[in-house]
Symmetry: D2
Amino acid sequence: MSLNTFGHLFRVTTWGESHGPALGATVDGCPPGIPLDETMLQHWLDRRRPGQTKHTTQRQEPDRVRVLSGVFEGVTTGTPIQLMIENTDQRSKDYGEIAQTFRPGHADITYHLKYGRRDYRGGGRSSARETAARVAAGGVAREAIKALVPGCEIKGYMVQMGEVLIDREAFDWDAIDANPFWIPQGPDTVAKWDAYLSAIRKAQNSVGAAVEVVARGVPAGLGAPVYGKLDTDLAAAMMSINAVKGVEIGEGMAAAALKGTENADEIFMGNDGQPVFSSNHAGGILGGISTGQDVVVRFAVKPTSSILTPRQSIRLDGTATEVITKGRHDPCVGIRAVPVGEAMMACVILDHILLDRGQTGGTRGKIG
Amino acid sequence: MSLNTFGHLFRVTTWGESHGPALGATVDGCPPGIPLDETMLQHWLDRRRPGQTKHTTQRQEPDRVRVLSGVFEGVTTGTPIQLMIENTDQRSKDYGEIAQTFRPGHADITYHLKYGRRDYRGGGRSSARETAARVAAGGVAREAIKALVPGCEIKGYMVQMGEVLIDREAFDWDAIDANPFWIPQGPDTVAKWDAYLSAIRKAQNSVGAAVEVVARGVPAGLGAPVYGKLDTDLAAAMMSINAVKGVEIGEGMAAAALKGTENADEIFMGNDGQPVFSSNHAGGILGGISTGQDVVVRFAVKPTSSILTPRQSIRLDGTATEVITKGRHDPCVGIRAVPVGEAMMACVILDHILLDRGQTGGTRGKIG
Amino acid sequence: MSLNTFGHLFRVTTWGESHGPALGATVDGCPPGIPLDETMLQHWLDRRRPGQTKHTTQRQEPDRVRVLSGVFEGVTTGTPIQLMIENTDQRSKDYGEIAQTFRPGHADITYHLKYGRRDYRGGGRSSARETAARVAAGGVAREAIKALVPGCEIKGYMVQMGEVLIDREAFDWDAIDANPFWIPQGPDTVAKWDAYLSAIRKAQNSVGAAVEVVARGVPAGLGAPVYGKLDTDLAAAMMSINAVKGVEIGEGMAAAALKGTENADEIFMGNDGQPVFSSNHAGGILGGISTGQDVVVRFAVKPTSSILTPRQSIRLDGTATEVITKGRHDPCVGIRAVPVGEAMMACVILDHILLDRGQTGGTRGKIG
Amino acid sequence: MSLNTFGHLFRVTTWGESHGPALGATVDGCPPGIPLDETMLQHWLDRRRPGQTKHTTQRQEPDRVRVLSGVFEGVTTGTPIQLMIENTDQRSKDYGEIAQTFRPGHADITYHLKYGRRDYRGGGRSSARETAARVAAGGVAREAIKALVPGCEIKGYMVQMGEVLIDREAFDWDAIDANPFWIPQGPDTVAKWDAYLSAIRKAQNSVGAAVEVVARGVPAGLGAPVYGKLDTDLAAAMMSINAVKGVEIGEGMAAAALKGTENADEIFMGNDGQPVFSSNHAGGILGGISTGQDVVVRFAVKPTSSILTPRQSIRLDGTATEVITKGRHDPCVGIRAVPVGEAMMACVILDHILLDRGQTGGTRGKIG
């Protein structure tokens, strides 16, 4: 990862600001011959799109993605794919106060300190709108994975919102797409989450969240030790998402409390020449290389910093001020981080499929 | 990060296996004119060196580092610095069984699956011995930081070992270097940690840990959004360390449970034209760019997989076996992860000092 | 350089095909605070624009560049700058034959062999239209150079077209912009070049060319030995331009015929603490680092492969065919390579200004 | 290429100075399972080794290469391969004068200006001794190519020395290894070259040269347009060699004088489903991608700047001086550039074999 590009061989460069004319992703290194059109990408953008429920920002953006290059006669050509999303709902308003004020918890002050200026309209480059471009790029990655590794499936879901955790005993994979929180839980739990978040909003507050992303059907052998490990790249990918403060693989931070007898996944021989494991504390990765088990990543998203409760801050001229962020803001940005986390997982997995092919030819050592 | 290299402008490539003739780091991009000699680097390697207490492996390696290039007349020249550590204690022994067996929790099986072969002697490339090269490179980074940003200080310490946590109320920065666990606590607590780990060892078990690394005196403005963010690079750096399963910045995973009113660090004007903050939930980083506060990173290390308690596994031929790892192993690899975490922090901070200089000339926006 | 991106810190990714909806450049790493608008970039695009004289393709493209991101209130912000040029003159026509045929001297056959498909409309990605994006990016680089190194000037000109060479004795720097060949020569010579090329065209033929690009006012000390040398990056930059077959620095290939006494530039002390040289056989670069003299690069462009004279070739199905390229083609693509070579020089020089700042802080050793 | 590393997936970082304790190459990204030992590499180093004929420096260096990592049980493991060559013949001498003086045509002055210091012993990092590390790395690349693309052969030879050119009509591939100039010519020509160079030496002078490197049996489809083109990477690779001032592919600079009818290689159908070409003006590369024909690169090496004839220069303190370089110097460094050019070709070809595998899976479009 470097500047505004991530990936080794599948390289994604995102560009654009929240209130500029457009934003997008330049996707380089997609293999040729992958069926691709705008509809396929729009599907994933629609999942992330704001304004769909009462819990996400009411900014109305159609987030319509256009493919400007790299696709010909319905398939990728191996050349760069330019994905552009035009910004349409740029409410004209007076930016006078926000232009002069640093909002606590936001990147306003660090962009100013680093660059000597910032596009203050809607957070500029540091706005979560940048993640729309990631989701579009992730859509490309998903189609390539589908073609190269049939059966590989990527899914994200919330596992925590504030004090509320999901019940792992009642985990329901199929429920994820059926509720606005993308939680793997039934309608009763969804109702509770809804009530919880409504109360947060009414209290003019916001709340953090934790998201888990799982990749099933990942072949063993992906990962480039020791500094391009699969988990290293996943950690970077997730930490680069706005508001993320922690990343875990498998047991994650809880591994600190475990004993050796509890943690190591024992190995057995499967029927098809592949190993099977008694458990997956490792999150599908050993020594930076995939084992063939589910790859499991979790990340924490901090509570939205834009809240109606007043916070102390300073202005550009150094004078003190009190900030109340009105505008259109999600009380829990973790919700919309779900499709973003999925997109990053897809990009990293595809990148490592290609990298592994380049390094080893994709051959595998045999067991048995 | 890519293959065996990390860093944008300060680029470190480590090489070598646990039981090969030598291992080391090729350090490229160190600025010219930095005073450097082997003694300065040896200081940090001695911190990490095995065989110093009863809690670390009894393998006796002097870990003597040699500087083969890039330094002339006592200062760096701007050319690559080759750091070599010869392996001396390579006990000749029969590797017959380990060569045929995949140890649970180790990278044996994934290296075999990916590469079709592995250097099975002591874990080969996936051994924690690789981290000696990181510590040497980190020593170079520390000297460069000292010259470029006087007053910037980097320190790591354990904050958790199994069920035992440090007492933050009794935090003693000066105690860190005075005990074998590098904990910021007094002798009584050290004695308790010692007893706890001795019990783990006697039970033929091992235990996980959490390590915190703090960088003080980091200038505001470091970080290259949006994919070379300071926290992104730190997450990658720490996750690339052997056995690490989670990385946190500031509040870390706990941010998921917080409300907006609790999390945002309020901003005030300091005396010297720099902002001051009411708290540091952000861990010194906003929008991927340093704020000028302490940069705070935490990571979890899983318990040593090599334990005397038998574990189920398979052999290269697919037959079942039971693994008991005798050898010389740390019951808590988290201890020796402290100097490694410090080294990675030093490398990332220096890299971003250089990158920022390249991107912006190191100028800063003014407040007030 | 890698895939579709070039540059270390000033990173340019071009995208788009000849007959797709648009093409452009994603420019990352431009320093903040540089005044920039579309008019400044359009100036350079207009130099390269087709359809201006009888000697360049009659395709009528306005080549209007739009800045979609990275500029706010008239200056760069330090975030990615997206430059988009929409394709407007995509004549609808029957591509049936060209879709099935490999044109000799073109990339048709190699794209097909590599990717299994190609966008055959107008050469797709391998069309010289891609260089419009380079010229736009070069315009950004020029503005940044102007701000960072005032007095640095970059200029390209033809030095050879077929058998015709410029007269170095009559070199006229100011004449370059006053003629359609960008030759540093007076009107009489221009008339001769015009007649020569008209004859080539009438003979249904095309002709090669050599272009020289000079950068004046380049500070000493740019270049990252030993694999990011200034001449190495210039060689790559120029060789990446369509149809270029050779690159020279200073004496270039002629150095092979020289003796040591003839070649070495002797050194004297200048008035301002800077060295002066008796000559510039080195082309302003020693050991990969700029000396402070003019940086001089030359490259050869092969004759346009698209000619009306029939050439033997094969079809996709392996059958033999004869190719006559009608369409709108320049008889000497070297003419329009001049602004492209300038753009590449500008990008490389800026990149090395930034890289040097990152590596050394831009400080310089003293003489005297 | 960046700093001291080149290559996309096959990444070579060289390190070390002329008179330091050792120099070498850190070779990352070599595929696993390639048979490799020190003898194989020594073979190529011996070709480049100084002190073998009267025309090369009499410095006696055994240039013994050691493999410190990445090879186990006689084959590569996929981990970094560290190649170290110890410097043994570091004559102790008084460097007083050379330490204070900038030799014309050398990098002394630019290193000083950039870095504020330099290792002046034998040219330090800018010495041609650095190329020994390239040759060792090239040896690794050759073995990997042999395993992955049997039949691919790389050979370099001189084509010009000063005013003397080879006779292409009498080209003898088998004669190359049988004479000290590596020219594809019989003994009579060799004798003439010998007499010519002896006269140059007696005149206390030196002379330039041109070297051609050919790769036969390169599969079609290698090259990553548009900025990782095969010719782009070859141009960079060759231009990075000490003293190189020009690089050509196929017709090279001569393409400027050609007409379209003369230059385009016509295409016919071969017997095995592969195209055949009537000629190879393109040097085996179209649009940056290999055609399957011989890849032909040429580069010019300037005359050795170290000559006994006095040259004007300045000292560190700015005073004028006259430089006579005594020491042990080749009158034509072009001779020893032959194995270096071969090594760079091998590294680039292997890199693109791996890159192509990663990008496209190595599949190929069909003809017929």
